[in-house]
């Protein structure tokens, strides 16, 4: 019998805790596939964030280091400076990376730190129960923007990829989405490239992945996928924002 589909080696034999319809599972898989494809599992060291993906250290079958909220790029910097031949990646949500960890990600990019950052943007705080994120859309209802995000009160959504792309230090920044098969394939390509860049010592790579939160958005999984396509992509356009030569 020919095996046509199996779990990536870089994922552990542990069931995910994620809510039904949440796309963290897909993104985890894409990261693990990239690690498998590049045959770097034995060199990989992941840094897990705070938030829904806090247990990422249980899911990736490589050495893992848990970080405080937002500090993953600093922790990854410490690891990478000690072990420059290892492949160090962070996996961070929008609350983690774009809010409390905004300084850490900007400066890791500015230093062209040779790490790979997977930035999962679902425009809301998931684990803490659906509060407003820096990436929450104008008018989007959350528990802390119950009348919809009002820019006069709460400011505008932060476009992390566009912002980081302005930095001379950042090597590769791309925004992808996982709302359908075509886009999942594109996301896989980008994530793999982000790891490949590190293998080739190119420097800082960040892949922003538009993701869903059916639970806190109050939608079905399929409605959530449509919401990414119809509402998030217009605000957060996909594509390569910066790529060094």
């Amino acid at each position: 019998m020919t095996v046509v589909f199996e779990k990536p080696k870089a994922l552990s034999e542990v069931p995910f805790h994620y809510c039904p319809g949440c796309t963290h599972g897909i993104i985890h898989r894409l990261v693990a596939e990239a690690i498998d494809d590049l045959n770097i599992q034995d060199k990989a060291i992941g840094v897990a964030p705070v938030g829904c993906s806090v247990f990422a250290y249980n899911y990736f079958a490589c050495d893992m280091h848990e970080a405080a909220h937002g500090r993953a790029p600093a922790v990854a910097t410490g690891i990478k400076r000690v072990l420059p031949d290892n492949i160090v990646f962070t996996y961070q949500g929008d609350g983690d990376l774009a809010s409390i960890g905004a300084a850490e990600i900007v400066h890791a990019a500015a230093r062209n730190e040779n790490i790979t950052v997977i930035f999962v943007n679902n425009a809301i705080y998931g684990m803490t129960g659906g509060q407003m994120a820096p990436t929450t859309l104008i008018g989007q209802v959350t528990t802390t923007s119950p009348y919809g995000r009002d820019p006069k009160l709460a400011g505008y959504p932060i476009k992390i990829s566009e912002m980081l792309a302005t930095l001379d230090g950042a090597y590769y920044v791309e925004r992808v989405s996982v709302h359908d098969v075509k886009h999942i394939k594109q996301a896989k390509k980008a994530i793999k490239k982000a790891f490949e860049n590190q293998v080739n010592n190119k420097g800082f790579s960040l892949i922003e992945v538009l993701s869903t939160c059916p639970t806190n958005w109050g939608m079905s999984p399929s409605e959530s996928l449509d919401w990414v396509k119809d509402n998030m992509i217009p605000v957060y356009p996909l594509g390569v924002k910066k790529e060094g030569k």
Partner: protein, 355 residues
């Protein structure tokens, strides 16, 4: 080995390098800036890394990562900067990683000033960050001791998998004294098998973490930590006893203040007052035992805690004395350094009341 005249902050940096520290992550703040400057100059030449982080918060988290990767790593700061580092220090203590943190204390609270103080005692020895944990805290009183304690701190950190703090002050950081770089006796250290160095399948993957969602598991983890702390209390208490044998009054003081008290002891002798000094070298674990011992002696009438703070160490002194004798306090704050005359006047007053 030849003695060299060095500034305190530079002596700490050189001692760290000689102890095998090859990674330093920091952020500028007065009065400890000579430490990062020294590291920036020296580390790249010996295959090490100096990195100026974007903040104290980042610096301590870089330390967290580097320590997790198995390196000998250090950071340094001064009071307001150490406050920012407390988040990371709590995580490092929780994940049981070895590192050395230098606090060259200045006056506070808030932005305070830039002159020497000892007002971070509570923060250093009673927690500082969130949760139940302890740092091992050394309080050097001379530059030579800064060197030996910094060198030893890396071994102690590795031995117990615990962050170690060198608690100096602006006076010690900025003064110059001749120092010799003599390594303390090497300790037998366990291999860092827990480090995240990449896993090729020959072992279980390593996870460095301080999250325990199940309350029973977290309680178990904290109990384990406290077993380690008990061991540290048994093994690592360090202090100096000076002129205590026939003392009428025992002064407790550490760091810069203890140096001044030593001058006071000579001055008081001329007036017929016998002053003893108990100088904690480890502030945590605290030397309760010698204080308790002298609290039982008839010749000791009273205790006096002298600090450059508003009475922080005195709480530990009182625990040691345990109500057996009165414990007085003399302290200056704001960056004011007490003079020998100030302290002697206080001792005269106290002894008048006692006799």
């Amino acid at each position: 080995m030849e003695k060299v005249l060095m500034k305190g902050n530079e002596a700490i940096a050189e001692a760290a390098i000689q102890a095998g520290c090859r990674y330093f992550f920091g952020y500028p703040i007065t009065p400890q800036n000579e430490i990062p400057a020294y590291m920036a100059k020296k580390l790249p030449k010996i295959g090490g890394t100096f990195l100026q982080a974007e903040s104290e918060v980042s610096a301590i988290n870089m330390v967290y990562g580097a320590a997790g990767a198995g390196a000998r790593v250090m950071t340094s700061s001064s009071s307001p900067g150490i406050s920012l580092k407390q988040e990371g220090i709590s995580y490092i203590a929780g994940a049981e990683l070895p590192c050395v943190i230098v606090n060259i204390v200045r006056g506070g609270p808030g932005l305070g000033g830039i002159q020497p103080a000892q007002s971070d005692y509570f923060q250093a020895v009673k927690g500082g960050g969130h949760g139940d944990y302890h740092l091992i805290v050394y309080a050097p009183s001379t530059l030579q001791e800064m060197v030996s304690l910094t060198m030893g701190a890396f071994d102690v950190a590795d031995l117990y998998r615990n962050p170690v703090m060198i608690l100096g002050d602006g006076m010690l950081g900025q003064m110059m004294e001749p120092v010799e770089f003599i390594k303390p006796p090497a300790r037998e250290l366990p291999k860092k098998e827990w480090a995240t160095t990449g896993c090729d399948g020959t072992r279980e993957t390593n996870i460095i973490n301080s999250l325990y969602i199940d309350p029973a598991e977290l309680e178990k983890k904290v109990e384990e930590l406290y077993k380690k702390y008990e061991l540290i209390k048994e093994q690592e208490v360090s202090y100096e006893e000076y002129n205590c044998e026939n003392a009428d009054i025992i002064v407790t003081a550490y760091g810069t203040t203890s140096r001044i008290v030593k001058s006071v002891i000579e001055m008081a002798k001329e007036e017929g007052i016998n002053v003893g000094l108990i100088r904690p070298i480890t502030l945590w674990p605290f030397p309760y035992e010698p204080i308790s011992k002298y609290a039982d002696k008839d010749h000791v009438k009273v205790f006096l805690s002298v600090e450059m703070s508003k009475g922080q160490m005195i709480e530990d002194v009182k625990l040691g004395v345990n109500g057996k004798k009165d414990v007085y306090f003399y302290g200056r704050t704001g960056g004011m350094v007490p003079t020998p005359d100030d302290i002697l006047a206080e001792i005269r007053n106290i002894m008048k009341g006692v006799q």
